[in-house]
Symmetry: C2
Subunit: 417 residues, 2 copies
């Protein structure tokens, strides 16, 4: 069994990551031909394993290994195959590789899982492409609305509906529903943070997914002026105003953490190098993004108010105007304690006691939880961050986590096949 899991993990990662737009790193945009090609890799392997394969109208892929109790809610295991631009080899792909390895382990051992095991490969999880959260999983659940289908992809300017159709999907069918009935979902995913690496632990159980509040197209409208000619008191400098805001939000962030709230604040993009910008000009314009995350909706609302209060002060002081644009939000989600307990039992039988932790990033598991599923995540130790070409993970850690799932649902639990 060990060999099947490890070999499947490595082979799936290799085959999926052979598909990418030009590097550095890996680029498979949401609803792109590259994402579709990566899905075909999994489909081909699933067919070869003898699984029952189907695609839904949103082009999510489901590969089913029938269980002993065909009427019980199925166990879905999976993740996504799209990436950010110039992303890493493991964000998403690791979870799909792990799901395929789990199915392969059942097939290789001749065991029948207690319930249907469904390798679940979602679409469009990386919301850098379309300003909509959890597109693929929410399409599977038929929880996307018509307005969201009009969202435009950042690189092409074409709508989600258009891109979904181009790859063979059917937006109208997604809107009509019905979506999947509640079942169970387990997502293996790299941690995207240094906690497990620093603690030398291979994997962890995730008790909740942070929600997010983002302003992706915020702008500051100041006044262009000559850098030598404009006296200090006459300036309306967009860069100084931005710096004021960042430093103020940094102080608020530290204060909220000290008060015991969960919070992360990031200004991931700053656009101040257009042809109009020059070293000898007081900058009259700046574009930026801000991304605020917490496990608590009330904290997100407090931070939204704090952001706007700081902006009002800066506008008054610097005689310029901020335009935050439309926010996009994702709700914090508690994950399934019972699924976590079952996986912990499996891990314990292999001599592991994985910690419980929170996910800072949003994941499809949150969308399933919000739709009433029992949904949980397993975080995999990784290093050199995430969403970048250097993103690191040891396939042995992933294999170890898959073995814990096998122990939790397989024969070793005392249920004869």
């Amino acid at each position: 069994m060990t060999d099947v899991i490890r070999e499947t993990v490595e082979a799936v990662l290799d085959e999926v990551n052979a598909i990418s737009l030009p590097g550095p790193g890996y680029t498979r945009p949401s609803y792109s031909p590259e994402e579709s090609a990566a899905h075909r890799v999994i489909e081909d392997r699933a067919v070869a394993l003898g699984l029952q394969v189907r695609r839904d109208a949103g082009l999510n892929l489901f590969a089913r290994l029938p269980g002993r109790d065909r009427s019980a809610p199925a166990l879905h295991v999976g993740s996504h195959l799209d990436t950010v631009a110039m992303g890493g080899a493991y964000d998403g792909a690791a979870g799909v590789a792990g799901a395929m390895a789990l199915a392969a382990a059942f097939v290789a051992s001749g065991e029948t899982p207690p319930v249907d095991l469904v390798v679940t490969v979602t679409r469009a999880e990386e919301s850098v492409w379309f300003p909509v959260s959890y597109i693929g999983s929410r399409a599977a659940l038929c929880r996307l609305d018509a307005a969201e289908f009009e969202a435009r992809r950042a690189d092409t300017g074409r709508t989600l509906a258009d891109h979904m159709r181009a790859e063979g999907g059917d937006p109208q069918a997604v809107l009509r529903g019905p979506g999947l009935a509640p079942a169970q979902f387990v997502e293996l995913h790299i941690e995207q943070g240094p906690v497990l690496f620093d603690a030398a632990e291979p994997y962890a159980l995730v008790t909740g997914v942070r929600g997010g509040l983002r302003y992706r197209q915020a702008q500051i409208h100041g006044t262009w002026a000559h850098s030598g000619g404009a006296p200090r008191e006459t300036r309306a400098d967009a860069v100084f105003a931005f710096a004021d805001l960042v430093v103020a939000m940094d102080a608020i962030w530290a204060r909220e953490l000290a008060a015991g709230h969960d919070l992360a604040v990031t200004f991931g993009r700053v656009e101040g190098a257009t042809p109009e910008h020059a070293f000898a000009k007081v900058p009259g314009h700046l574009g930026f993004c801000v991304d605020i995350r917490s496990d608590d909706v009330a904290e997100l609302d407090r931070m939204d108010a704090a952001l706007k209060a700081e902006i009002a002060k800066i506008e008054a002081r610097r005689h310029l105007r901020f335009d935050l644009g439309a926010p996009s939000r994702s709700r914090p989600s508690a994950l399934s304690a019972s699924l976590a307990a079952r996986i912990a039992d499996g891990a314990l039988r292999l001599g592991h006691a994985p910690r419980r932790m929170l996910s800072g990033g949003g994941h499809d598991a949150a969308a399933f939880a919000q739709a009433g599923w029992d949904s949980v995540m397993v975080f995999l130790r990784n290093w050199d961050g995430s969403h970048n070409p250097a993103e690191g993970m040891d396939p042995a850690d992933l294999a170890e986590a898959v073995r814990a799932l096998k122990a939790a649902w397989g024969d070793a639990q005392g249920q004869p096949g």
Copy 2:
């Protein structure tokens, strides 16, 4: 006389500004075909006026109206015709239009100026293109060195020597010299600040030009990470580090002004929107420019030290690294009090008492002053800033300033023609 001055001013501005790369605004890069075409407009007009036209090896244009005393140092009047990218209609062009109007007024009135009047059109004054200050005027003075000829133009990546040769110049001849012998230089130029507009004054005399210290290619090297996954204490966020620096320099700037020092601090370009940047990533890199100006070399040195001290603190606190790159410097220059007094006399005869003020921007007048010339500037009221398409100026103000020069050097001073 009034009509000749006003008509010449408006006609020259119209003809010069008809030459530009595609807008918005006006773009005539240094040593570009567009700058050369604008020089030909002036050459053609000068020949039509009967002036003696010559170009030097650096392609500066000189159009001479002989004076009564041919052996006395000539009176050069002029400015430049290159612009920043998407610049305004008056920065540089106004001074050339004013010089042509002064010559036209002498010709129209049949007066001979007391000394040779030389309409002087310099090259490559806008140092956004090549990281070298006052290129054209320093070429005329043969004060460029061989290393500066290797500087590369920001848009093309080709060297100054290459671009100068492409337009017909001769870098080797510039290096050989000799340059112009010291004489007198008067530069009419828009203020590029709001002081005269706010005070409702048409023009002013400039007593000195601020020097500058610039880091044009500064970079911050932090660590890319997932915006939700990286705990606060593990981050090395390039945007937060940049904001720390800007806010620190803002406080230092306020303190230095309060202590009576002359100072301006500008971060004109911020580059944080590469394909690698995304709202969901902790930014691992940021590029920026910083431009520090003062009338005092010691203040520039103090600010350089202060900048580096702040950076050292931020590097230690945020676990990242700044790379300022190579600085470029221009020296502060005191301008000619005797020329200012002569122009003030002319203005007084027309009922004006122009204020004395400092120039925040660098100008060719500084290069002439540094080479031992009697050099002075006249600032023209303008609005909506400078180095941008909206840059505003009233040609009537320019005409009024030209009349003051005519009064200072013409017959009205009691020197019969």
